[in-house]
Symmetry: none
DNA sequence: CATGAATGAGTATTCATTCAT
DNA sequence: GATGAATGAATACTCATTCAT
């Protein structure tokens, strides 16, 4: 009779979240079943409800977890070197998968390409009916953009990035490209095409952005 | 119009599709209920099934409708003048809403901003379970990209766009930005922010793309 | 705009019945759809309702039609010669299909093996809910048995069949064997096995029945 | 019994099957509603789906249950004495109802005459659309015939039955008579008529079959 | 008479959530 | 805490039947 670490409530929650991340990201919100998550965890459905009072709450925590880890990961990477030293290939990899993930060992559970778009889709579906979630998600999204914007801002000071660039717009633009290419990937476009497009576009953007 | 006329069926289908577009785009696939569409149309559920044999089929036709009209609209706009004369503002408008829609008067039914991302999310959810739909959607997506790429290709010949630009990558890049910014909009980012980001990014891209 | 012989109501009914016979016998009552019958007839659903006020009524008439024709056919055959001259093979053929059908040219529409069991199943299902139908069906069944019993009775007088045989029981026995073997056939038993079993059993019965 | 015990599931399934047997046999497959079974059992519809994933699966298990118990019952009876000692009355009783049922006390739930023909009808309806079911049912039917054939074969060795009798054909013949008379019963023929016919026919068959 | 669009009651099935054990 | 049986509201889809044209 498996238990979800009775000693550590927090640890139990985390185990559930990490498992759920996989399901929600691979199958979307509606096609992910509570029973499925429970079974995969070797736990009863009821157990999950001990930690999360509903599927929506679980999903919300899953999103939080994902965004947080992704942000930390991205920031760690960005701060490791100035923008001109970042190759578009490396940047592509960090934006599109989690191979470079260094910050958290638990991230290993994300052992496959992570499709944030699916999250956003599920999120946007839920946001309609749940204003609380909407608020929360907007906050996360903005924080995420802000994080990258801060990085750019920092390099403006250092003289790597042109002064007249709006860091926030740039950050949002790059994030949008990532999201949009993710969508393209899901539409069935081959990864090589995605990568090529990414390189072309980021090259153009960097050319206008970086102080040469 | 008398119901026995063959045109009637076509018109009835269109009426259903147009109504469904609203629901699917606003609420997503799963939260849109057949009963709801029917009620809004003032008909019984059964009536819808006379024209579409399942919710999935209806959704597929809704997508087709949207893509087709959007493409026609975009192409009409693009072909109306060379890239250097296209203001980013105009381009934004055409990419993000349908105010400029000139080709089809029926488009009036889309009286609000149209969120393609929701479609793509719903599509991607369905594509997993329905390989036929996957195939069809990939085709639509690629066609859509191709359309814009052809336009760029054309202006390469005319000397407006640099010869070394990969039209397909450029087209995919711009489409991706649009999709990604749509997502941002749904995440709760204000339209003014979206517009600003769009202008910044497209400006950068155009600078690298256009023959000055 | 095809019509079901506007001139002759009776003829129109018959056309519908004959088409319906096929569907009901092949697919059973519940899986046969009114739309299907109509389409196959090249006629609208509404047209059928001009002649039969419901699916049940149509089915009832189909049964009547079948029983009547089968009876006439069987009697014609039986009366054509004394029991001792009837080979079990011939008897099998007449009982299990309608190749020998001589009485009605319209019978040609039954161009394949006819499965009375399906009828009886559908009938028995309907008989529960419709007492009127139950009564009617019982009458038909009894008439059918009686017909064969009369034939045996006749040959008792002629001295072909032993005096102490109960004609009605014999008739019912033979009919039952036929019905039961039909069921076996539908259970997936090969026709050769059915035929062999039929020959064995009828041989035994005839041996006890016929005056040698 | 506490619900966590593994036996509970088995018992719950059996309770559902036994209730379903009644409905399916009395009303046929299509007129039996899941809601009806559930209500009669005093549970929700959902509960049934915890044990059977569809109506078809439930039906299949109902058939299995019936066939299995009937076979055991018949075999127990047949093996209790040689064919010449089996009165046609006793044989009728065992073939047509379950009064003699000795093997399983649970059989008590079948508190009324059991109509296998209805099953076979419903089965045949489903067999068309479900090849898996067809296969399974054919197997059951053949096994059932084989069982009785083995019994006859055994008595051929013992010298009770003539050597030149084909046991399989005989078994199929007798089974068919039973099925056919069941049909007659459902057509509204009185039980006394059925019994008389059964006795006449089996007498004839036994006369040709038994070594006197 | 014929048509076929529309109806709407009916049904199997799903699944998040609860709660007795 | 954990379990998993039970719940029941929700939903897509069917099809005989009707009726305006």
């Amino acid at each position: 009779m498996p238990k979800v670490f009775p000693e550590y409530r927090e640890e139990a929650k985390n185990r559930i979240i990490k498992q759920s991340v996989k399901f929600f990201s691979e199958k979307g919100y509606y096609k992910t079943k509570m029973a499925e998550i429970a079974e995969c965890l070797g736990v009863s459905k009821g157990a999950i409800y001990q930690y999360f009072k509903s599927k929506e709450e679980l999903f919300l925590e899953v999103i939080k977890f994902y965004v947080e880890y992704t942000q930390k990961d991205l920031v760690a990477f960005l701060n490791s070197r100035p923008p001109k030293d970042i190759s578009t290939d490396e940047f592509f990899d960090i934006m599109f998968n989690i191979e470079h993930s260094t910050s958290f060992e638990n991230f290993k559970i994300l052992d496959k390409l992570f499709p944030p778009l699916d999250f956003k889709l599920a999120m946007s579906e839920l946001m309609t009916s749940n204003p609380l979630m909407k608020e929360e998600m907007t906050k996360y999204y903005k924080d995420s953009i802000k994080l990258m914007a801060d990085y750019f801002e920092n390099y403006k000071i250092n003289g790597f990035i042109k002064k007249d660039i709006d860091s926030f717009s740039l950050s949002m633009g790059i994030t949008s490209i990532q999201d949009g290419l993710m969508a393209a990937m899901q539409m069935g476009i081959e990864i090589s095409e995605i990568r090529k497009s990414w390189k072309e576009i980021t090259k153009m953007i960097l050319k206008s952005t970086l102080v040469e």
